[in-house]
């Protein structure tokens, strides 16, 4: 197998004595679409916090190596914006878009490019960027709402906009936290198709609760089950679903 683009080894994170992440090992390979499931409190969001620099692990290492055979980058020493600039984008559980800005502006602010103060002061949109924005607006189906204030969008549309913002920054790795939350079945399905179409070009980790959605997006990929801060098991959706330990902790039916 190829070299992992993102790896976490023996990572532990404790909050006030509570082990949110416990000796976690996780490997993401280039182009993969990985789904992470787990009961509430399994450490999914903390895991994303550790990967994106929001929190620092107590022990263990997190490394990022987008280019094979070059030294990996230690992510535990970097902060949020430095990690984002390396090409790791994150979508939050509750959609976080700029409510007072238009859909279009939301995407402009997310577009890949220099991030410095002076670059922003003298920023101009060139035609290549405008084409890219048009393509993104079509991709996330917000073309006809580009002048809407993002705060006026439906919950599902906000989720899509945030995915669009993520893609605008052209990341290598996408960390997507519960993208289908608050969506209709049809929107959920379309989101799944979008994520499947992005796999390959991007390496993607999706945290999700909705099992039919997990089944849809894990059709070619692996499912990782988190429990009490470590990996309980990993494998194909059907294998994971029928795994006795998973049924016990996650589906809660094992005891019966």
């Amino acid at each position: 197998m190829s070299h992992p683009i993102l790896q976490a080894e023996d990572v532990t994170k404790t909050f006030d004595g509570f082990r949110a992440i416990n000796a976690l090992n996780f490997y993401l390979f280039p182009g993969e679409l990985r789904t992470v499931i787990g009961p509430n409190g399994a450490g999914k969001s903390t895991f994303f916090d550790l990967l994106t620099g929001r929190a620092k692990p107590d022990t263990g290492g997190i490394e990022y190596s987008p280019v094979p055979d070059t030294p990996a980058t230690d992510l535990t020493k970097l902060n949020e914006y430095e990690i984002q600039r390396l090409g790791i984008g994150r979508k939050f559980q509750t959609p976080s878009v700029f409510a007072e800005h238009t859909v279009f502006t939301n995407l402009v602010l997310s577009l890949k490019g220099p991030r410095g103060v002076f670059a922003s002061l003298f920023h101009r949109l060139d035609s290549a960027a405008r084409d890219r924005l048009d393509a993104l607006l079509k991709l996330v189906r917000l073309d006809d709402k580009r002048h809407w204030k993002a705060g006026l969008l439906s919950h599902g549309e906000k989720q899509w906009l945030e995915i669009g913002m993520l893609l605008a920054s052209e990341p290598r790795v996408l960390l997507v936290d519960e993208p289908a939350a608050g969506m209709t079945d049809e929107e959920t399905h379309r989101t799944g198709e979008l994520l499947l179409s992005l796999a390959g070009k991007h390496s993607i980790v999706v945290v999700e609760h909705d099992m039919s959605f997990v089944k849809q997006i894990s059709i070619n990929g692996q499912v990782t089950v988190l429990h009490q801060g470590s990996v309980l098991c990993e494998g194909k959706f059907d294998d994971v679903q029928s795994h006795p330990k998973v049924r016990e902790v996650y589906l809660g039916r094992g005891k019966n």
Partner: protein, 385 residues
């Protein structure tokens, strides 16, 4: 069907023609017509703005610059600084040092030393005062001293990600600490009396109408220039980013922007500009003392912005003019009531007019539309009977 991307959405034109007109017209009136009328017309002429009026307007213009800074931080960037008057006062002190030295031997004690130094028994001018004989050095200090304080404070606070009410309290503590320091005689800046009794600036007599007119024009031009600069900052991408930091700093951070640097940049820039306003304020009122940096002064500036309308650039200017005109009137008519008036005003605005004075026309318009849509209905009802 594809909707053409509107450039104006992200990169609005700096000003439309109408906006240029509504900017240039009052600027011309204030910076050119009023001073000309003041200079040319005989003293008792009805149309002549008095020296006192011009002086008052000049003072208000420097207040408006202070208010614009508060608004850029609060209304656009989401940082409620309760210590902006500190930078105003620091600029005032830096320029006041120069003005004090320019008194020369014309002070009460006919000494080369400023009066308060003679009074406190200084034998020689402290070394750090020497360079303030130079106007350019003092002018540079007006910019640099507030900027430096803002940089050190902002660097520590924004890097540590101190936000919201905690940051507001810290800014207030900063200005309070500075006021306590400046109140002390042994700090070396004249204690609670501060600096006063200025005689001249750049060789011109500060009491002559010409000089005062010049200071007034300089204040109006500063206000106009700062308005244009802030207008430029708040449009296009930088302006969008400021508001994005205000509305959701997390997302901005996770979009790859070092938000602390953006905040620091605006905070330091505003401090320097506020310092210039303070420097123009001091020769016009003739005094600078530590009461200018007490927390109340900064809070007043916040009230101006709230009353005028935060998150707009015209609102703070209107607010500074309106509240200070009200203050000028109230402190003569009913001085003991002033604090109640300003407190009540703040409450009324927060409760009933969150958009400030600037939102009044739109409110009246929608009220008018409602009224007119009701009126024909009533008429047809009457006709039916």
């Amino acid at each position: 069907m594809s909707v053409p991307a509107k450039l104006s959405d992200v990169e609005p034109r700096f000003f439309t023609r109408a906006q240029w007109a509504s900017f240039l017209l009052p600027t011309l009136v204030l910076a050119l017509v009023l001073p000309l009328l003041n200079a040319a017309l005989p003293a008792e002429h009805l149309l002549r703005p008095s020296d006192f009026t011009l002086n008052l307007y000049g003072k208000y213009a420097t207040y408006a610059v202070l208010a614009l800074g508060v608004d850029l931080l609060w209304g656009y960037l989401g940082i409620l600084s309760l210590g902006q008057a500190l930078f105003f006062a620091l600029g005032g002190y830096a320029f006041g040092m120069h003005l004090l030295l320019m008194i020369g031997k014309d002070g009460q004690y006919k000494s080369d030393l400023p009066d308060y130094m003679v009074f406190l028994g200084y034998k020689a001018l402290p070394a750090h005062w020497e360079p303030f004989y130079s106007f350019s050095f003092a002018a540079a200090a007006v910019l640099i001293v507030p900027a430096l304080i803002a940089f050190v404070f902002g660097w520590l606070a924004f890097r540590s990600r101190i936000k919201g009410v905690y940051l507001s309290i810290l800014t207030q503590a900063l200005t309070y600490a500075a006021a306590l320091l400046f109140f002390r005689n042994d700090f070396g800046f004249g204690g609670n009396n501060g600096f006063t009794d200025f005689k001249r600036v750049l060789g011109a007599d500060l009491n002559s109408p010409d000089t005062r007119r010049g200071l007034y024009v300089a204040s109006v031009l500063l206000l106009a220039g700062v308005f244009l600069l802030y207008r430029w900052l708040t449009r296009a991408k930088f302006g969008h980013l400021m508001q994005a930091i205000r509305d959701g700093e997390n997302r901005v951070l996770f979009s790859g922007y070092a938000t602390a640097r953006y905040k620091l940049f605006v905070f330091v820039l505003v401090a320097a500009i506020t310092g210039v306003a303070g420097a123009l304020y001091v020769p016009q009122v003739g005094i600078i003392n530590p009461s200018e940096m007490t927390p109340e002064k900064s809070l007043e500036a916040v009230v101006w912005v709230a009353v005028g309308g935060r998150g707009t650039l015209l609102g703070p200017i209107l607010g500074a003019l309106f509240v200070n005109a009200l203050k000028s009137w109230a402190t003569r008519a009913a001085p003991e009531l002033w604090l109640y008036i300003i407190g009540g005003l703040f409450i009324v605005v927060v409760l009933f007019l969150p958009g400030g004075l600037i939102s009044l026309p739109a409110k009246f318009r929608s009220f008018w539309v409602k009224l007119r849509s009701k009126a024909p209905a009533a008429e047809s009802l009457a006709a039916g009977h």
